[in-house]
């Protein structure tokens, strides 16, 4: 369920963003995220940015592991 792709926002216009991930570009909807700016990283699912990404997976895992 829900294959997501971490992608970089290249540009934004009229509620749409052009994102870049590993050599592939695509226009997606940016309507569901407030204050999105070029350079931000977003999680993309089925052509919609569903969330801003605030950390790398490995740094996050490092912090999580410290809980235990």
């Amino acid at each position: 369920m829900c294959v997501g792709l971490a992608a970089k926002v290249l540009s934004i216009k009229d509620g749409e963003a052009v994102i870049y991930a590993g050599g592939a570009k695509r226009t997606i909807s940016a309507e569901l995220i407030e204050d999105l700016a070029p350079g931000d990283y977003v999680m993309v699912h089925a052509g919609v940015a569903i969330s801003k990404i605030t950390d790398t997976d490995e740094d996050q895992a490092g912090k999580i592991m410290r809980i235990i």
């Binding site: 369920m1 829900c2 294959v3 792709l5 870049y20 991930a21 590993g22 050599g23 592939a24 570009k25 695509r26 226009t27 993309v44 699912h45 089925a46 052509g47």
Partner: protein, 334 residues
């Protein structure tokens, strides 16, 4: 089982083998007809290899080539896989009524150019025109004959434990290019087809290392399907190191967007080679120095454990079976 032909039967996976086994092999069976890329025939004064291949790619023009270039590369590479120097080709066209002559000229032009590059001569041809809607644009079938030098013998059945597995470049570009131009995914990726004639590259490998066991053309079904075929034909296991498999950025990005596995995307200019460990580095070095194989790499090795299986060494240091080749390539999104 279906009682009509489905798209999946043409995708290169298990259903394709079922179709071939159940209909064609059953009817055509003879000692020269094998599962390799071309047939090897003893002839007065030596051995020849012979192959035939049909091309129905849609769209017929794509980034990095067109159906004409593809049809020459297909035949040349099939011969090269048997270690055969491609000599002569025939080509047969089925053209749809209304097809623009200008496009046909472009296609024929790339065929001539590719044939020249590969050092092969087109010696006969056939042209049929079919009514509107009976074919999609143009279909081409090429048949090739090549000569095998003494002492060279390759086959999908010759892989031995201890061999290294080499790919001659980054994988999946042709399949990715076609997928992006055919479906309405709206993805803009900097990917061009890997379509290229590879006899010169094979020749250089054969000159550098006499003892090459397997050379296979990773076309439809991709490198993953070819590896499963080698594992099964040679009754060996194959262990891949996932971190060593060369994949271009655009292919990687497209695959992560669509949930696809690059190992199952078609290539049209990539070979899989199985050769003894002490020859592998030399082969990779020779390949890297040549056009169309600059990204050649050792991606794994042949094992005596797990016969018939392809195992992946993953990013967390675990071993897992590479998912078996399926039917039609379907993006996984929701």
């Amino acid at each position: 089982m279906n009682n009509t032909v489905t798209l999946a039967m043409g995708s290169g996976g298990v259903q394709t083998s079922e179709l071939i086994d159940n209909i064609f092999k059953k009817n055509f069976s003879n000692p020269l007809l094998t599962s390799d890329d071309a047939a090897v025939i003893d002839f007065e004064g030596g051995r020849i290899a012979m192959t035939t291949d049909g091309f129905i790619v849609s769209p017929y023009e794509f980034a990095g080539g067109n159906i004409g270039k593809l049809s020459i590369c297909g035949a040349v590479n099939d011969l090269a896989c048997m270690g055969a120097e491609p000599l002569y080709l025939t080509c047969s066209f089925v053209i749809e009524e209304g097809f623009p002559l200008e496009k046909l000229e472009i296609i024929a032009g790339s065929m001539a150019e590719t044939a020249k590059k590969a050092g092969v001569v087109i010696v006969a041809g056939d042209t049929k025109v079919a009514g509107k809607g009976q074919v999609d644009g143009v279909f081409i079938t090429t048949t090739g004959v090549g000569r095998i030098a003494d002492g060279i013998s390759t086959s999908g059945a010759f892989a031995r434990p201890g061999d290294k597995i080499i790919v001659t470049g980054d994988i999946g570009r042709h399949g990715c290019t076609i997928l992006l131009s055919r479906e309405s995914f709206g993805i803009d990726a900097d990917v061009t087809s890997d379509c290229a004639p590879l006899w010169k590259n094979v020749k250089a490998c054969l000159d550098a290392a006499k003892d090459i066991h397997v050379i296979r053309d990773a076309t439809r079904g991709g490198v993953g399907t070819v590896l499963y075929e080698i594992a099964s034909q040679s009754n060996v296991g194959i262990m891949l190191d996932s971190s060593k498999i060369p994949v271009a950025d655009g292919v990687k990005g497209t695959c992560s967007l669509l949930g696809l596995e690059p190992l199952y995307l078609a290539c049209e200019g990539r070979l899989v080679i199985s050769a003894p460990a002490d020859e592998a580095d030399k082969i990779v070095e020779v390949l890297r120095a040549m056009p169309d194989s600059e990204n050649a790499a050792v991606i794994g090795e042949v094992t005596d454990s797990d016969p018939g299986k392809v195992i992946m060494l993953t990013a967390i240091g675990a071993k897992t079976l590479l998912a078996r080749p399926g039917g039609e390539l379907l993006p996984r999104i929701c």
